[in-house]
Amino acid sequence: MVAANYDRRPKQLRAFIGALQALETEITYAATPLPEAWERVGRQTPQPVGAIFNNARAALTGGLSAAEAWQKGLEDAYQETALTRQDLEVLLELGHCLGVSYRDDQVKHLQLTKENLRQLEMAAQEEAARQVKVWRYFGVLGGLVVALLLY
């Protein structure tokens, strides 16, 4: 289970990077308004990340501001993701900028966030490789202990 979490975190970070890339495309090329853009991105992004966009969209059309809706979407889903508090901070930061400025500025913020996520993802991958090895090692070791005890 724990080993699986280490495996899932880089995957989810990658999903976020891809989703933000898609959002950037929606904003720059089609100037799609946020509710619609989030819905589209949500649909094409693997779960559980896709659901975050969908929930944020629902909150936004329900009357929250973009920043509040984004925060709600993230925090509601946080427990089900493998993301760390640090990942969450980076994503929440983006919320304050979404939708409040012109295209050029939106792109800058999205790119900065993607870059930050990429760093986190690389670190997460190394961490995962190490931890998975450790846990598997423990697993094998545990197996050996059991085997020895049985003898």
Binding site: A31, A66, V100
Partner: protein, 341 residues
């Protein structure tokens, strides 16, 4: 009104919706200026509003619009996506569902000497769109050629705010739908609506009634738009608002060559007025227009002139206000047309 209330943040929405119905019917503009009193315009007469939604003349007791109110309004108007309104903010206005128009001012950002964007919006003018069907009833018999079922080349002259666009819109609507009373069958009309005032398009769909056979090219520069419409939509009548530049005139000539009837408006209070402006003088010398409809101050129909012999076909009684401005259902007569100007 529903459409307008939707873009106002809670506090402002509450204040405006507390206005008595009699005032709501006259509401022409809502003016939001950051850190200044909330104002409304009730048909040529402005007033301040208190927190309780009552109309007062002393600004000291009025509700003061906050920066937060401005921000929230922008958010609501743009669907939390300011970037989607870049083009509109560059032009300084946008159209809401329902055809209501919002003018904006603030800090302008330049790029190579041209307006790139407006940021820090400091003032908003929300103009309520109203339509006055029947405005053109008195004019139509004079500008229609019955035998051929065609419109004469018509130029509407008017000083600002005298109902030029409102009249144009109603002529377009009726000519497009057909006028049974005059035995006129509807014809295809092409409208170039550079400032989204004629049809009040939202996402390309006219929000005001411009008729069944009307094609609207929204937010398009007039000269380019006229050529485009001629080539692609085969209009019988081409309608444009506020012509005046040489390139507009050239495009008009193109339309004439294609056998299209032209319906245009222009700023000016008399034909002599136009002679003083080179591009228009040229246009008049061509003797293109067959009918001149002249509007006067206070929304009066001054006269209709035959373009061939310059003789008046019809003279409105001076200083008598025509009854073509009648808001909705309460039967209140107003002296002024208030469409989305």
């Amino acid at each position: 009104m529903k459409e307008i209330l939707k873009i106002l943040p809670g506090e402002l929405r509450r204040i405006i919706s507390q206005l008595p119905t009699s005032s709501l019917n006259l509401l022409a503009e809502i003016r939001l200026r950051s850190e200044r009193p909330l104002m409304v315009n009730l048909i040529q007469q402005d007033a301040f509003l208190t927190r309780e939604g009552s109309i007062i003349s002393d600004p000291a007791d009025a509700y003061r619009v906050t920066g937060e109110d401005m921000l929230k309004t922008i958010q609501l108007m743009s669907n939390s996506s300011v970037y989607a309104l870049e083009e509109e903010l560059r032009n300084g206005f946008l159209t809401l569902p329902g055809g209501h128009r919002v003018g904006l001012v603030g800090k302008v950002n330049l790029s190579e000497g041209r307006i790139k964007t407006i940021s820090h919006i400091g003032g908003l003018n929300i103009r309520v769109a109203r339509q006055f069907p029947g405005t053109a009833d008195k004019v139509l018999p004079f500008i229609i050629e019955k035998e051929t079922n065609r419109l004469y080349h018509t130029l509407i002259l008017s000083p600002p705010c005298c109902g030029k666009t409102t009249l144009l819109r109603d002529v377009v609507r009726q000519v497009s739908n057909g006028i049974p009373a005059l035995g006129f069958l509807g014809v295809t009309v092409g409208v170039v609506d550079e400032r989204s005032e004629i049809a009040g398009c939202y996402k390309g769909v006219p929000q005001l009634d411009v008729g069944l056979r009307t094609d609207v090219l929204d937010a398009c520069p007039k000269a380019q738009g006229m050529i485009l419409l001629i080539r692609s939509m085969a209009p019988e009548v081409l309608a444009v608002d506020e012509i005046g530049r040489m390139e507009d005139i050239q495009a008009l000539e193109e339309a004439l060559n294609a056998g299209i009837r032209v319906l245009a408006t222009i700023h000016g209070s008399s034909i002599e007025d136009l002679n003083r402006r080179p591009a228009l003088d040229y246009l008049l010398k061509q003797g293109i227009f067959q009918r001149f409809v002249v509007l006067g101050k206070g929304v009066t129909l001054k006269e209709i002139i035959n373009g061939q012999d310059q003789q008046p076909l019809m003279r409105g009684e001076s200083n008598v206000k025509t009854d073509w401005g009648r808001p909705g259902d309460n039967g209140l007569r107003i002296g002024r047309l208030h469409g989305s100007r």
